[in-house]
Symmetry: C2
Subunit: 308 residues, 2 copies
């Protein structure tokens, strides 16, 4: 195989109470990548479609940095051309850089004859993420590679796994077109938190995880409460409180920030009210002259896949 075309989905990390730990994959949005073998040992980004301003320098692009980490670990010297097609911009809170890193290591692993499992690819994608945000976090790359709903129990040593979720669980994503840099959003968080807030947060994590596995929609909704990150980061997102109120009024089980924002998400049981929320969000932001992307998604069970 000389060339392969793959897709790695956009993702929602944190999921309310699960900062740096919980995440899930979205349908439809994500990165497409065509990876082609080269005769030499160079990694060359030949094109990036869909968004502008991303580095073409292979030492500064998450995709090529991630592939380098994989090749280094395998002790291989191989060259590839990368044609990247993105439909999520960086600074969206939907794991844009993670999708690129995930697609890159997944594609390279395929062309190399799958020496690594999907689980094992996570650490190489994290190397790409580390370059993009100074810290090697796994909460976006894990669902982008594995799909489904994921838990990063520990980054050192890396221990990640999937948990089941109810089949009727639907997601609405609302992404107002204002940029929030992950590094800025991280800086806003204090390095210490109140023990009482931490206890409330892990009570909610216990609620959300058990609610998802046991298909208890009411519990999922109640547990989608974030007393540590949301109060700080929501300030950066225009009309966060208005959108949350609107979504809950329209049957959302819970509403919070996706990753470091400005994207937000809510869960619903079934599709009945999803379009209403999308429609209301668009109307509201447009009336305030802010562009917005809003869409309905299932949780994507597949993660990174081969296209064609």
């Amino acid at each position: 195989m000389e060339s392969i075309k793959v897709f790695a989905p956009a993702t929602v990390a944190n999921v309310g109470c699960g900062y740096d730990v919980l995440g899930f994959a979205l349908q439809g949005y994500g990165d497409e990548l065509i990876l082609t073998r080269r005769k030499d040992e160079k990694l060359v980004i030949t094109s990036i479609e869909g968004v502008s301003g991303l580095p073409m320098d292979p030492t500064r692009n998450v995709s090529t940095v991630a592939i380098s980490a994989l090749l280094d670990d395998l002790g291989l010297r191989k060259g590839f051309d990368l044609r990247i097609k993105k439909n999520i911009s960086s600074g969206s809170g939907l794991g844009s850089s993670a999708s690129s890193a995930a697609a890159a290591v997944f594609a390279a692993n395929q062309l190399l004859g799958t020496p690594k499992t999907k689980q094992e690819l996570i650490s190489y994608a994290m190397a790409g993420e580390k370059m993009a945000s100074t810290k090697a976090h796994a909460d976006n790359v894990t669902p982008s590679i594995l799909g489904g709903f994921t838990v990063v129990r520990s980054c050192q040593p890396l221990d990640v796994f999937n948990i089941p979720y109810p089949s009727e669980l639907k997601v609405v994503v609302i992404f107002p077109q204002v940029e929030v840099k992950t590094s800025d959003a991280k800086r806003m968080l204090k390095s210490e938190v109140k023990l009482s807030d931490a206890v409330r947060q892990w009570g909610n994590v216990a609620g959300l995880v058990s609610g998802l596995i046991l298909e208890d929609y009411d519990r999922i909704g109640k547990s989608l409460e974030d007393v540590i990150v949301e109060p700080v980061r929501s300030i950066l997102i225009p009309f966060f409180q208005e959108m949350k109120k609107m979504a809950l009024k329209n049957g959302a089980l819970g509403y919070s920030i996706s990753g470091s924002g400005p994207s937000m998400f809510c869960f619903l049981r079934g599709n009945e009210n999803t379009q209403e929320i999308v429609w209301n969000a668009k109307k509201y932001y447009h009336s305030h002259d802010i562009e917005v992307i809003a869409f309905v998604s299932d949780i994507n069970p597949s993660g990174a896949i081969i296209l064609d």
Copy 2:
């Protein structure tokens, strides 16, 4: 019905990573209570067997304070005699006061014709606990009343529930006979924790809860890690590290402090190594002239029950 005899089990709270949130009920150990109607409106503790030094004053004993809270809420003026038989001492870390409060409200509710569900009884038992430890916490009373493995997602408003656990899960409890006062143990904790530690803790909560529900013993063991409370409180427990090492060497999935200690617990899959751990613990503490209670238990699925 003029009189009733009930049992409410001892409990393990916190369960490693789940400080103030997780708990489970033990078999065999706990409080027996005979509650008998009186002609007047007094609450009278006629005897306390098994331990000494507990208050007989109905305004200062958790049992009678808990019954008062129930009666007040129901707008009833009733009198009861209480004969209490305890086999766990206070300051054990096994929820001694919670068992008394749980037994008391469970028995009174029965004699009153069960106006309240078991779930509803938790808040009255918490009133007893509040008197004993200044804060109304629910992590011991919830499993003592409901049985099984429990989550206190939130104390305000109260939201508690059971989660499933694997049938082969066995518990060994090791209780060296040194007293640790809950109030002292609570004072040792800082009111602020590192965000990075909190994240690690809720990653472990996600692991433990999903491991229990999905019957993943390996994940249960890995997740029984406490980076916030155990490092501080274990200092108060003689030979904590030695016991932990011994239990893990003998097949324990994980090992941590029960409640605020000095009792400790470990989980095992099946009964193969349980007696070995009990035996080793006894031998070790006896060789250091410390009395110890050590026993094997299933997780008690029933919680508070009527005896006879």
